[in-house]
Symmetry: C2
Subunit: 208 residues, 2 copies
DNA sequence: CCCCATAATGAGAGTCTTGTCAAGAATGAG
DNA sequence: CTCATTCTTGACAAGACTCTCATTATGGGG
């Protein structure tokens, strides 16, 4: 209970990460609803009670998973895009990063999709950056779309479904570029150009 | 136990439908995982035990919900499309029907999306017709897409997300046409033509 | 290497959920 | 209207899940 005037950052965080990662594995397999705390603790190689030393409730764990998921890419992507000028390229880079991450780490992909299409908090945070990019592109006349809402539906939809197939191993190495190209075409970018943008090398991810 | 040589079709089916519809309302509100059988029975105005006269397990109920959902539109759509010649129009009609149905009946839409992006059975059945249409369009050279998988991701993605925003009341009456146009553009249809196809009147739904 | 603040343990209390069943109510054919 | 058949009821047993807590283990600063 003593308020932390001293530093003690290590063990606690390691265990929390164990739990978060175990939770993602279990969520990916059994869905988010169907995951008893016991199963998560056991998957992490810890006892039931240990869980509650770190998270007061299951809901709190889910929030931590969300936070972890977001920290892993969302902000990195936003940053890696910051140097670029063309809204079309922003969208392309973001989509490709998500899809590739999902291919490399299927569990991450699976859980992100489940949360992104289910939990309101997450889809809002995922969409936040994307919506901003879309608006900017629309305003500049770069995207020609019927409405903001339709544009958001299209880009988010192809992104999530693309991640889903990527994380289930049904895709080749070009898949990220493919879905990115399709998204750009739906935003009114000329097919040839869309293809070119979708195949540009990805900019490096800047350090924290 | 007597094998049914006699006819007795009425009451049973009525109650089953009550349960299925109650289940959809509860699923829409609390998700599919978080819906106790008790809550469903109560929502239907029935006792707990009655549930188990009709469905041996909760999973069996979910299967019935899926069946009901599919019967409601999927086959109707397939039929209503059968007279048309252009794969682009097939896709457009199917997407618009789904999106409009979701707008008219938000609960139907919400549950269909949840099942469609989560339960494997359903997404497969939803995709089955669509994939066939896509393949045909690709083969005829009507669609120009990087891969079948990318095309399926794009169309299914925009369809599900479109239904989701439609069923949450965030959309105007044109939304169905809008997302249909975006889907066609992502399939390589020229924007002007995509728009025209997306605004053609929907063909009538044929009788059973 | 010692020691104690900090973390882990796991049995179990309390609660919720599923699924059963004997008894009573409704249905509808004759 | 009568009665056999079929449906409904709600209390309850069995078990799963969440969260607690007194006890034991640990790690890392001195």
């Amino acid at each position: 209970m003593a308020v932390g005037t001293l530093e003690r950052p290590k063990k606690r965080e390691r265990t929390q990460l164990q739990l978060i990662e175990a939770a993602m594995r279990v969520f990916a397999e059994k869905g988010i609803g169907g995951a008893p705390v016991q199963a998560i603790a056991h998957e992490a190689g810890l006892a039931n009670g240990t869980f509650y030393n770190h998270f007061a409730t299951k809901h709190e764990l889910i929030a931590a998973v969300v936070g972890h998921l977001m920290d892993t890419v969302s902000d990195q992507i936003a940053a890696s895009v910051r140097g670029l000028d063309d809204p079309a390229e922003w969208v392309s880079v973001a989509l490709r990063r998500f899809a590739e991450k999902a291919r490399e780490d299927p569990i991450w992909g699976n859980v992100t999709v489940r949360l992104g299409s289910g939990v309101t908090d997450v889809s809002e945070r995922i969409t936040a950056n994307m919506t901003r990019d879309l608006d900017e592109g629309i305003e500049r006349g770069r995207f020609k779309v019927p409405t903001r809402q339709a544009a958001a539906d299209a880009v988010l939809g192809v992104g999530l479904m693309g991640m889903l197939s990527a994380s289930s191993g049904r895709t080749g190495p070009e898949h990220a570029s493919h879905i990115s190209a399709m998204a750009l075409r739906s935003l009114g970018i000329d097919p040839t150009e869309a293809n070119e943008i979708a195949h540009r090398p990805l900019p490096p991810i800047p350090e924290e």
